[in-house]
């Protein structure tokens, strides 16, 4: 089987009616089974990059794009959104707006996507149960999606994407509205999905989460990729603050310990382990 990748080469994007570009000369690649984190200050371009990678920009939100985006080596310029959505699943910040609002059970909500693809009914049912089980929320199948907690709704939204069986996932701040327990649920789910072979781009402000689940991290600043590399290196880079990014807690604690003269080897090792 070919290695699944998303590749962006020289990609720029301008929203309709905007005076300047929101993305400039972005080069990025996502490999099979990789979780690539995306950090940056507010309005730096994280959401825009997620929309461009997922294909929603410009297909749904309009605007102009340049550069080249390939999916598993294929140019996707001419692909309609419903074809792309079968290969790239896209999740957003607000779990409530990702629900269709026309279903009365979690099962039907997760089945919504496969139903839209006109798959055979048995296939729809099998994919739905598989998606629910992969995120360990099959016990919520009969619940009203509108009555779930934010974390549960975000997992239901994620299950709805998984039921489409995409090879890639683009998640824009999936834990933005979640409490620590909900954040852990989603983080654990992302790790399990990557272990199953999905390639995942996740934009987040929570660098602690990215430090735990990402193999690589990219920093975006003013629409450009300013830094990209192994997560441990990028998240410990002293320039992070210049880009409006808060370093993960272990890095902050390590620096505080160092400035206080408590550079103990055991402490350093413990912080590195998280």
């Amino acid at each position: 089987m070919a290695v699944l990748t998303i590749s962006l080469a020289g990609v720029g994007y301008r929203y309709a009616g905007a005076t300047g570009p929101a993305l400039l000369d972005v080069d990025l690649e996502l490999a099979e089974g990789e979780v690539l984190g995306l950090v940056g200050a507010s309005e730096a371009g994280k959401t825009t990059l997620c929309l461009v990678v997922s294909g929603l920009a410009p297909r749904t939100v309009g605007g102009q794009i340049r550069g080249r985006i390939t999916l598993d080596g294929e140019d996707v310029d001419a692909w309609p959104m419903h074809r792309l959505s079968q290969r790239i699943g896209t999740g957003f910040q607000n779990p409530a707006t990702q629900l269709s609002q026309v279903t009365s059970s979690v099962f039907e909500e997760v089945a919504f996507g496969p139903m839209n693809l006109a798959l055979p009914r048995d296939e729809v049912v099998a994919r739905t149960w598989t998606a629910l089980e992969s995120l360990r929320i099959d016990d919520l199948a009969d619940r009203d999606p509108q009555r779930l907690s934010g974390g549960q709704q975000q997992l239901v939204a994620l299950a709805g994407l998984l039921a489409m069986r995409p090879g890639h996932l683009v998640l824009d701040e999936p834990t933005a509205q979640l409490d620590p327990a909900g954040t852990r649920l989603v983080g654990d789910a992302i790790e399990r999905l990557a272990a199953d072979g999905a390639s995942i781009l996740v934009a987040e402000q929570k660098t602690d989460l990215l430090a735990a689940i990402c193999s690589r991290v990219a920093v975006i600043d003013a629409g450009r990729v300013a830094l990209v590399g192994p997560a441990a290196d990028v998240l410990a880079d002293p320039r992070l603050a210049d880009f409006g990014v808060t370093e993960p807690s272990p890095v902050r604690l390590g620096r505080a310990a160092e400035s206080a003269g408590i550079a103990d080897a055991r402490l350093t090792e413990a912080l590195a382990r998280g």
């Binding site: 749904t60 598993d72 896209t90 496969p114």
Partner: protein
């Protein structure tokens, strides 16, 4: 396996469509096909207007609204909801006709320059009964039919999934906006907004709530659109349905009988059938 298919897997055990999907309603009336109930509501509403006099609409409402509501166990809720919907316009129409009916001669009551007349009272009661009949018919349908049931049935009959979705989502939006308004009201109260007291203070209290409710709903539209796109909603053609409300030839015949009966009624009225 489709190109790029990942996370294939299979469920740990073979499970079919769970029985809570398309769960049948609690009464025989609930379990009627949604199109049958929609046809009944529509024909009742139109017939209440077409039938002349006072007795006809009352008999119609008794047979087509109150009887089924009793059988379905929703009579209490129906009366409360139908009155809530109809009373503002019903009261206005009643008073206007009672006091300002043109050409009336039998005076019942005089209040200053305006007079309540017997002819006005008769017409006002006829209007009142018709408004309540329409409200009752629509409310009975709403109380006994899940929106998803109707849209699935329409899709099964060939209506575009996009049209069916818009119809369903429009109905579901109302309770969602009511809930959002409640949340915004609570937040505004915590910031000192006064929403109690005189009518004028309550009206003033509504103003800072309306904007966030509407703007919030509009802001969500783009996110919802993208989320739907991401789940293949714009794919042309029909969707797979997990279930469909049962129908029968008897119900189909009944629907046709209602429609033909309505046409006959309207034709008779046009032809001058006495009221």
């Amino acid at each position: 396996m489709a190109e790029g298919d990942r996370l294939t897997g299979s469920p740990t055990e073979v499970r079919g469509v769970p029985d809570f999907v398309g769960r049948p309603g609690p009464s025989a009336y609930h379990r009627l096909n949604p199109l049958t109930k929609a046809t009944s509501a529509t024909v009742t509403a139109i017939a209440a207007v077409a039938i002349g006099g006072l007795v006809g609409p009352i008999v119609l409402v008794t047979l087509a609204v109150i009887g089924p509501a009793l059988a379905a166990g929703v009579l209490g809720r129906l009366v409360r909801t139908a009155l809530l919907l109809a009373l503002p316009i019903a009261i206005s129409a009643f008073l206007v006709n009672l006091f300002f009916f043109p050409g009336a001669e039998q005076v019942l009551l005089r209040i200053g320059p305006i007079t309540a007349t017997a002819e006005g009272l008769g017409f006002a009661l006829e209007i009142l009964v018709r408004i309540l009949a329409i409200s009752g018919a629509v409310t009975l349908f709403y109380l006994t039919t899940r929106p998803a049931d109707l849209t699935v049935d329409l899709e099964r009959r060939g209506v575009s999934p996009r049209v069916a979705f818009v119809a369903n989502a429009s109905v579901q939006t109302v309770p969602a906006m009511v809930e959002r308004a409640g949340q915004i009201t609570a937040a505004q109260r915590a910031r000192g907004l006064d929403t109690e007291g005189s009518v004028w203070r309550r009206v003033r209290g509504v103003v800072p709530i309306v904007g966030p409710v509407i703007l919030g709903a509009i802001a969500e539209v783009e996110e919802r659109t993208m989320a739907l796109e991401a789940r293949g909603f714009t794919r042309p053609g029909r969707r797979t349905l997990l279930w469909a409300p049962p129908d029968s030839s008897a119900q189909a015949l009944f629907r046709w009988a209602l429609l033909l009966g309505l046409v006959a009624l309207i034709a008779a009225r046009i032809a001058g059938w006495p009221s």
